[in-house]
Symmetry: C3
Subunit: 430 residues, 3 copies
Amino acid sequence: MRVNVFMQIGFVSAESGQGRAKNVRNILLKNSVNIMLCAICWWAVGYAFAYGKTAGGLLGISHFFSDGETFDSKPWFFTWTFCLSAVTIASGCLAERTHLFVYPVYTAVVSIVVHPVVAHWVWGKDSWLNSRVGSPCRFLDFAGGAVVHIVGGLTGLIGAILCGPRMGRFEDGVQKDIPGHDVSSVSLGSLMLWFGWFGFNCGSTYIYMSDGGPAASSAVSRVALNMTLCASAAGMTSLVLASLLSGGSAGTFDLGVCCNGLMAGLSASTANVGFITPWASCITGTLAGLLYVASSRLLVRLGIDDPLDSSAIHCGSGLLGVVISGFLARPSYVRSMVDKNCGGLVYGMNGGTQLGMQLLGKYCRISGRNGFGGKRGGRVMTLWGGLRRWVKSDPWGSYVVRRLLVTIAWTALWSILAFSTLKRFQLLRV
Amino acid sequence: MRVNVFMQIGFVSAESGQGRAKNVRNILLKNSVNIMLCAICWWAVGYAFAYGKTAGGLLGISHFFSDGETFDSKPWFFTWTFCLSAVTIASGCLAERTHLFVYPVYTAVVSIVVHPVVAHWVWGKDSWLNSRVGSPCRFLDFAGGAVVHIVGGLTGLIGAILCGPRMGRFEDGVQKDIPGHDVSSVSLGSLMLWFGWFGFNCGSTYIYMSDGGPAASSAVSRVALNMTLCASAAGMTSLVLASLLSGGSAGTFDLGVCCNGLMAGLSASTANVGFITPWASCITGTLAGLLYVASSRLLVRLGIDDPLDSSAIHCGSGLLGVVISGFLARPSYVRSMVDKNCGGLVYGMNGGTQLGMQLLGKYCRISGRNGFGGKRGGRVMTLWGGLRRWVKSDPWGSYVVRRLLVTIAWTALWSILAFSTLKRFQLLRV
Amino acid sequence: MRVNVFMQIGFVSAESGQGRAKNVRNILLKNSVNIMLCAICWWAVGYAFAYGKTAGGLLGISHFFSDGETFDSKPWFFTWTFCLSAVTIASGCLAERTHLFVYPVYTAVVSIVVHPVVAHWVWGKDSWLNSRVGSPCRFLDFAGGAVVHIVGGLTGLIGAILCGPRMGRFEDGVQKDIPGHDVSSVSLGSLMLWFGWFGFNCGSTYIYMSDGGPAASSAVSRVALNMTLCASAAGMTSLVLASLLSGGSAGTFDLGVCCNGLMAGLSASTANVGFITPWASCITGTLAGLLYVASSRLLVRLGIDDPLDSSAIHCGSGLLGVVISGFLARPSYVRSMVDKNCGGLVYGMNGGTQLGMQLLGKYCRISGRNGFGGKRGGRVMTLWGGLRRWVKSDPWGSYVVRRLLVTIAWTALWSILAFSTLKRFQLLRV
């Protein structure tokens, strides 16, 4: 539980290393204030909004200031580290050019409004999004691929766009790299993040399997294995791909790309790491590595300056991670964790209720009675059948897509609002 | 348990960063030797003096060299990290000007004489301080606010005074700041300390609730929450206060003050974190932040050069933390941890035996029979009544004050003795 | 379990600090690739070779790609960190002069061929080495003194020899020190290694005592205590010894030697830390400190350039650690861990089957029936009797020596093969 805090040390180390020497003090101060302010906001309001007793499915309204007889510190602390991650991810995108005033404002907005509300809507059992749907499956977001990484990455992306690039980054249409001042700090920070992430993902297992018996212990180990493979595959893929794109000689292997690829792999694993097999984690990691390199280059092409590539790492990978569950979630793992009979699209070939179908629309919903593991045998569905249904289906109305869209829309709304207001009062840039 | 060792990494990182580049090697070597020597001293003698079978209430005299059938390695390791913290705290005050010979000497003195004896007297059930008192309450020092932080901070303060300031620190009555060489190291070190401190405080919960059941698990989480709030409040308070005192513009936010304030908050939380509510932790943190800034400025005014502000951080906050229990300890938490019916002064208004009263003198002692939770109902006592008794009471004879005074006197005695002897043989300064 | 990963952060930090500034990026990239590639190799093949179902006692052949119903992720992850340590140890010896291509090749060789095969042979119950011997004792290698440290150190040593020294290290027969660029990084890295090592050794306790009851918990604490003492004694010994050898003045205390001595102590403790007493750990640490300084100087004398002294630290200490069990293993600890009646040579004086005898040859083998703790009383054997048998015995045929020789021979064979091949194709040096 407490090891999640270690992620922050990794974040701070990686971020300060990627900044220029003149900005180190500023970056460190900003990150320290982020942590402290986020703790106070989450204690005062955020936790209550997110995990308090729901008010009409819209918002939690109990446990403000850790109040109330039923308040339990354990989930408070664990969920705080989630909120803190979302806040810190975004901070990377704003490095080296924003007004000191920006940080406390966006920390407060993310930890009071954006993350808690999304967490309440997407994860809360009684929220308006979840209470009306009698679904045979659940929205599978293992440890916050959407609720943490998409929220953090998207907030940061919007902030980076509204802030504009650092001076000298895109001059006369030519992009110039602004190298960080301490590569050791970046590399060690990435490894520390990895270490802390074990706490984040492995610890989340106990939310699903709270009895803590041998099954949970075995699931925790599977999570650790999957994360390791996903991160390794992503780091290797992005290292090799970026090198090939730059000519392929030995000198083109870029440590920064490797570290960022590793983190993209970890982000991508977050949403699905408990639901998929090691093989699937390797595939996820490879895709995350490709996606990271592609989105990093896309940002540069679009003239968006994200000093740490945080939005490329977290936003895209978070989305990838959620989507991958729809294809690769193994029914037996899903059942053991969320007690639902559903699985990924590829398991459709040997029967089972389809999470892939869930992703693809309401027409594909299949009742649990016929589902995987049912005593009367599963309903056989070919991959072809699944794809045909995809075409016919209504993605906008589907179970998962609706949750993703709500997350994205709410995050975008508040990010734009907050950063525009700051810009209006000329408090956005130094 | 082992995570406490991580505090040392934080200490070393913070201390080496605050030193000048030319002294880094020296600081690192000193800290390494501190750790190794303290381990050997604690194994050979320290643990036996502190936690061995008492000899007349004065000193433990069993388990030298981890000897004896009843020796258990578990408390050895845990208590070693306490002793190590006391040693390391003091080392910060002596940085950058002392003879290399000083470190092993004071490490041996603190880990053989000062800390073990105080631990035996204050924490030992059969010590002369505790055996004679039939008190309805106990001296509440959750994880060593007095026994670690006051001991460490005071030893360091006395060392800093006897050593005199670094060259160039106070020239012609003008104080000049001597900035550290690596601000990243300081900031990361502080966060690492925070991380390690979770082990220190959360782990201490199991000393009070050794069954390790759900109640203990819930208490551990409350400790983590309280620490987080206390540290955050202290860091924010000292950051803002120091900035206001320096003019209040954006440029006056000082990362170093923020890191030190954070640590002051952690020190202040150590003595009481298991006994108080999150609200009380916020208040404690705010006070610790104020106290740190004030005592840091006082040291400068007095011409005492403490390169890391260790004494300002640990000594004052340690004292604050112990005292705060007397006012804010919640009776139900105290009962669940030490099985005594007592609480802080503010809970006097709705009944209960008063730890605040304990702090304030023997006249206020109230028998457990009438105490909080007694079946015949608690004795109602107004805050006013408590304060009136304070005036009438004899603080010198009181339960808590006696322990604090013994701690301070013993620590001061040996510190003065050790450093004076070193000075006498011209081994104190380079 | 996951804390073992932290060792990698320590390794990376220590290694990058000991390199020159111009090589930091290279060192960091290499280490990152090591970790990622080792994870993939271990998942695909290594784990199957090492811990899969044996094929004729030669090689494991199940659980490739984490396949199979009986595959358990928990041992996978734990054993992966063992393999990773072996890989990383060797990487230190090759720093600053090898071709970028060397790292992935030797990572693959060590994590697919060298370490898994040795682990299967030495630790596997059905391996050809273990199945034929009806021994009253077991080869005592607590957490991989042979299987990790000798393998890693020896691979590195052979690599360092075949690579040749860095330019300027031994010019005209004069050795010149090439100082690292960041001493903080080295010192903090060593402490981080120490911290991670607690996970490594303490976690290994649960392999022997898998019920996890109070006996295991107490053994874990003893392991932590022993490690602490062994590391402290080794660090102090090497610090003082190296200073004495260099003249003995205050300026000759060398932080690097202290850090390396500490690590040598940790390496030496790895093989025996669960089987010996704190006193024995102190002795082991002292010997490890002496041995490190001696072997470091021997390497220089021989003109072998090991930039991090990794082979001096790990190879010699690994061997020392295994041998020390034969002399100092306490029978009651051995029995509680491996359920065999045997102990070290020094316990021969008060009776017991002798592990020392095991080390010293087959003539000394004593059946368990007469052994320590047998109901009909232990067989009394004087130290003198043990030594007399040593002279008469055939060390080459002995139980332990055979395992050590197999480990060394197999490691040497493949290391020479791999590095020679790379050299042949001029891919070894930059």
